[in-house]
Symmetry: C3
Subunit: 144 residues, 3 copies
């Protein structure tokens, strides 16, 4: 018989550069899991804000350049968007990339370890058109 | 010591117009959370059906126009798809947009409040090519 | 009063062909749920690895062709990516498709059944440029 199900809600604070910069947050999520001493369950990583996303990738220099480039092909920065008429902050493309990719990721863990692939890292992608301070929620639902 | 973990499964019924219309459902999810009296945990919003998506955005008139427009650039409505040869219902583009974006979103909550950003709303995006009645599942896993 | 919350972590092993092949895994997830005898909760399906995705679609022959075709329009195979200069394995497009779509899906269940739409199947999409052996995690958090 396992112990009761516990819920742990923590935050990660990150300074970003924007422009769909890719930032590896795997170690910070793993550290929260380690400190919580939970063995089996799921970690949900959620970015508060509407111009950033959470996903996974192999975090290596090539893909760190390919991801923003791919996103700029799909949803170009230099293009007029109706959003920019609302606020005139020029980040319509940032919102569209964030809505397309989504703000959240759930990763199961077992035996106290995130069940990621060897070459798979959890990343924050900040699509905004300027440097931002980001607050991410990491919530664990699991058992000891 | 917190109370036991509770699971609450509710539904939201919505009439939509389709064509990747963006519908703000934040208040309806928050209302379910309020009534459930859970303080800490996660809300999973899931749309049953293969031509709609759940994501977040800043719900303002500009992006309400930009999101369908962006999706129509990526996956055009006026283009032949093999799906349309199967059912002849002309919504191949709707299925493709839904598969790309995904049908589900998980949002953590704490102190009884969804941990969304100030300008971040939960939205249903209905990609179908006609008006639809949609049934969404809102499932809370949390503690008092 | 329901029983305690239980967490069940299982794996699905699948041989794939790659090239964004779409594989229906609904029955295998439903079988794990059936064997776990949980009535209400959520199933998280997660693919370990950075070149595959989990989503839902209507699993019919037309869309099985349309999905890889749509992805090849958005993120073409025949195009140079910086990733390919890092490893020379030619699967930069595979990584980009996987990061865009995401590696995970959460599906609520109630009365022992996944709350999918009638024409909505859970699918693995393997974007790699070769045949792969894939290990998927299916984790249930629920109550009897």
């Amino acid at each position: 018989m396992r112990g009761p199900t516990e819920i742990v809600t923590e935050h990660i604070e990150i300074q970003t550069k924007g422009q769909s910069e890719v930032i590896d947050i795997t170690e910070r999520v793993a550290s929260i899991l380690h400190d919580a001493r939970l063995m089996e369950g799921s970690a949900t990583i959620f970015v508060a804000g509407s111009t950033a996303s959470i996903s996974t990738t192999e975090f290596e220099p090539g893909l760190q350049r390919d991801i923003p480039s791919m996103l700029n092909t799909l949803i170009p920065k230099e293009q007029p968007y109706h959003h920019d008429n609302t606020w005139h902050d020029g980040n319509g493309f940032s919102h569209l990339r964030a809505t397309l990719m989504g703000p959240t990721l759930t990763v199961p863990f077992a035996k106290g370890k995130l069940l990621l692939g060897t070459w798979q890292q959890i990343v924050l992608i900040d699509h905004d058109n300027r440097s931002r301070h980001r607050s991410l929620v990491v919530q664990l639902i699991g058992q000891q």
